[in-house]
């Protein structure tokens, strides 16, 4: 215990010395999030300093091995890191699909070369990734995907279309599911990595109900992908894809920490709360939110020592995203007419309304709530015919 106490002290001091004051304020919107990548422009010097300080220590990915850009923290140490960051409200120094999704998949399925190369880039925030899974005809039924990679000896030639590719227009590279065998459904998909500047890749942003355009249609027209850019075995990409989805779902659930686990009643009450029924709903919400925060903590603790059910992220995603939607419904109700403002300065450009609309995607992206319930019924409850 004393070792860990010492570690906590060390982290606390380091954070005190290195986390800029501006980075201890809650992120107000997308622009406050540091995504990294070739084309990223820092919002302010503090954001840059905070990233650089963390990169130097491996703290952007604290529990990855040092050889791959992490800090090699044990589960208990990583928990302390999270707790200490939460204590001062430190923002994540770097947020990325590389950290949440591709990284864990490479750690499990990547070759040593791939790990050193790609994980290092992810940890340092040098490369921003996007995810090429969904297609127009293949959403929940992802395995029916049609984008095809034709074998040309030392490379594949990829043709097809992806859709809902988040940040495809801002990303440097894509991890992409490509059919490499038309005769096999599950065992005919490969997991490929390629540069978004490869000739033949084009993107077209799609506007969301929130007014933002964070995602795109992505088209592949004779895109050449070298053979060494495959993760896992040929035609076994589905295993990698599913494993990655587990991490994606865990991330979307919000179980890992952050604002989504907080109670909201007290914040709402600061602006006056004169409706007893709304207050009651807020109280019930706070019960559920605080209970879910314990669930997230328990899952992470158990996952680190292999005690969690491998399908548990599906449950977390279902519960966490439904909760987040409820959170924003309540925030809208509490905000009244002010929360309806779409571009006023005092709402920072309609943040309440836009955030509320954005949360509706939480129970769709990364697998819908209905699909999550299907998976729980089948893999955890072992219900017949599920």
């Amino acid at each position: 215990m004393s070792d860990l106490d010492g570690f906590r002290q060390e982290i606390r001091e380091w954070l005190e010395a290195n986390c800029p004051a501006e980075m201890r304020e809650p992120a107000r919107d997308e622009a406050d999030v540091c995504w990294g990548g070739r084309n990223f422009t820092f919002k302010n010097p503090a954001q840059k300093a905070w990233l650089e300080a963390c990169v130097a220590k491996g703290y952007t990915v604290p529990d990855w091995p040092e050889a791959y850009g992490g800090a090699g923290m044990s589960p208990a140490q990583a928990k302390i890191w999270r707790e200490e960051c939460a204590r001062i409200g430190a923002r994540p120094p770097l947020s990325s699909f590389g950290i949440w999704m591709l990284g864990p998949a490479l750690l499990k399925f990547g070759t040593e070369e791939q790990k050193v190369h790609y994980l290092g880039e992810i940890a340092r925030g040098e490369i921003r990734w996007c995810q090429g899974y969904s297609e127009p005809g293949s959403g929940s039924d992802l395995v029916s995907l049609q984008t095809f990679g034709e074998d040309k000896g030392d490379h594949w030639v990829v043709n097809g279309q992806k859709i809902w590719t988040s940040y495809a227009d801002k990303a440097d590279w894509i991890f992409c599911l490509v059919r490499t065998d038309k005769a096999n459904t599950y065992q005919g998909i490969s997991f490929l990595l390629f540069d978004m500047t490869t000739p033949g890749v084009t993107t077209k942003p799609i506007k969301l109900i929130s007014g933002n355009s964070p995602f795109c249609e992505t088209f592949f027209d004779d895109v050449k992908v070298p053979k060494h850019q495959i993760v896992g075995a040929l035609n076994r990409g589905w295993d990698v894809a599913k494993y990655l989805l587990g991490h994606e779902r865990e991330m979307i659930s919000g179980a890992g920490g952050g604002d989504r686990l907080n109670a909201i009643g007290a914040v709402v009450a600061r602006n006056g709360l004169d409706d007893p029924i709304l207050r009651a709903e807020l109280a019930m919400f706070d019960v559920d939110a605080l209970a879910f925060s314990a669930m997230g903590e328990k899952f992470l603790d158990e996952a680190k020592v292999g005690k969690a059910h491998p399908a548990q992220p599906n449950m977390l995603k279902y519960a966490g995203t439904e909760l987040n939607k409820r959170r924003h419904e309540l925030l809208m109700s509490a905000g009244g007419a002010t929360a309806l403002e779409w571009d006023s300065e005092r709402t920072n450009g309609g943040t309440p309304a836009r955030s509320w609309l954005r949360t509706k995607a939480n129970s769709i992206e990364g697998g819908t709530s209905e699909v999550m319930l299907n998976v729980v019924a089948k893999r955890i409850l072992d219900l017949p015919g599920a």
């Binding site: 709402v268 899952f299 449950m315 299907n374």
Partner: protein, 379 residues
């Protein structure tokens, strides 16, 4: 501290799970004592077995002959009690009663704890005075009289009140009914003159009594802790009872859920197992999720209580509210998914529904605790 059982706790859970599924099962315990109209509402032989396993004194100090364990460990036992609907005085006696007495003098502990730990006697805790849990209001009065006190007033919903050797009573020794201070806890012997019981059978076959104290003479030695300063000890007892009831609720919910999913895998309609219907699968999966979350927050609250954290009070209320909601969903869905047989006395699922009601009410329901969550969060 990670949110799962350490090695010792996992071993305890293993032992208790087997023991309760066997000795504490529904048929030999709940149904047996219910059908014979048992006036205690529980079996003394099983209580003796609890003692032999060291469970009766798990929260008592080692110096008092106990095991000095915490709420996580007590919760392990309570969860299995819940899963098997075992009628047992464990929560009132070994969790709440022992917590109260642990704040008392050597003499007091020496007088009551050995019988409890040996499994010869049980304790009851008398706090509430109305049909709803309202411990903020205590009107039952103990006036100074000579070297002791004279107790008058009434207490409601005292589980196992008529079977207890001693009743732990929260009484007012100064101030007015709703004052925070001015509370004193007493250990009142069952044979003190002036106590009368209205002993009632509850929906879940447990026995509870509405107790009237009519000028009951108590000597000074029956005071637990400080005169007028009993609120903080009372809060400890409440914390123990609330998180204990929450742990038991997670067991009840899990038990109901397990028999329901088993039924989904055996009952056929339209030529298919009913568990193949997606409408039922989704409801079962949602219920699973709620029960998992309730289980997680209960362990969290237990650890915080054991660690003396200032956040414990909040998370105990979150835990009780969440466990009550999840368990209630489990028993309602359970009965519905059983169809007609769910309404029969022969099937166990209805017994789970009854137990859920009682336990939810005990030490505050989800509404009471959601209100506390709001207040503790400052709104």
């Amino acid at each position: 501290m990670p949110l799962y059982y350490n090695e010792d706790q996992a071993m305890l859970a293993d032992t208790v799970t087997g023991f309760m599924a066997d000795a504490g099962a529904i048929k030999p315990q709940l149904r047996h004592f219910r059908d014979m109209g048992c006036k205690d509402g529980f079996g003394h032989a099983l209580w003796k077995q609890f003692a032999e396993m060291g469970l009766t004194g798990m929260l008592a100090a080692e110096a008092d002959g106990g095991l000095a364990m915490g709420h996580v460990e007590a919760g392990i036992v309570l969860k299995e009690i819940g899963r098997n609907l075992t009628p047992s005085p464990f929560l009132t006696t070994s969790v709440m009663g022992v917590t109260a007495l642990s704040g008392g003098s050597d003499d007091l502990r020496g007088r009551w704890l050995p019988g409890v730990i040996a499994g010869d006697s049980v304790l009851a805790v008398a706090i509430d005075e109305s049909p709803k849990h309202r411990p903020e209001r205590i009107a039952c009065r103990a006036e100074k009289a000579g070297n002791g006190f004279r107790l008058s007033g009434s207490k409601a919903f005292v589980v196992q009140g008529a079977s207890a050797e001693a009743i732990i009573v929260a009484a007012r020794t100064s101030g007015s009914d709703s004052d925070a201070e001015g509370i004193t806890l007493f250990a009142v012997p069952k044979d003190a003159a002036g106590i009368s019981h209205e002993n009632l059978r509850l929906v879940d076959s447990a026995m509870a009594s509405n107790i009237t104290f009519d000028n009951v003479e108590l000597d000074g030695d029956s005071v637990i802790g400080d005169v007028d300063g009993g609120r903080s000890l009372l809060n400890k007892v409440l914390g123990a009872g609330r998180i204990g009831a929450a742990a038991e609720l997670t067991g009840v919910g899990q038990g109901a859920f397990d028999i329901t999913t088993a039924y989904l895998k055996t009952r056929k309609q339209f030529g298919r197992l009913i568990g193949e219907f997606q409408a039922l699968q989704h409801r079962a999966a949602h219920l699973y999720s709620e029960l998992e979350i309730a289980t997680a927050v209960v362990i969290k609250a237990q650890q915080l209580l054991d660690g003396g954290s200032e956040k414990a009070e909040l998370m105990v209320s979150v835990g009780k509210a969440k466990a009550a909601r999840a368990c209630n969903l489990a028993v309602r869905e359970g009965v519905q998914m059983h169809g007609g047989v769910g309404m029969t006395d022969e099937y166990d699922i209805g017994l789970y529904m009854k137990r859920d009601r009682s336990l939810t009410e005990f030490m505050g329901d989800q509404y009471y605790h959601a209100e506390r969550v709001a207040q503790l969060n400052g709104y």
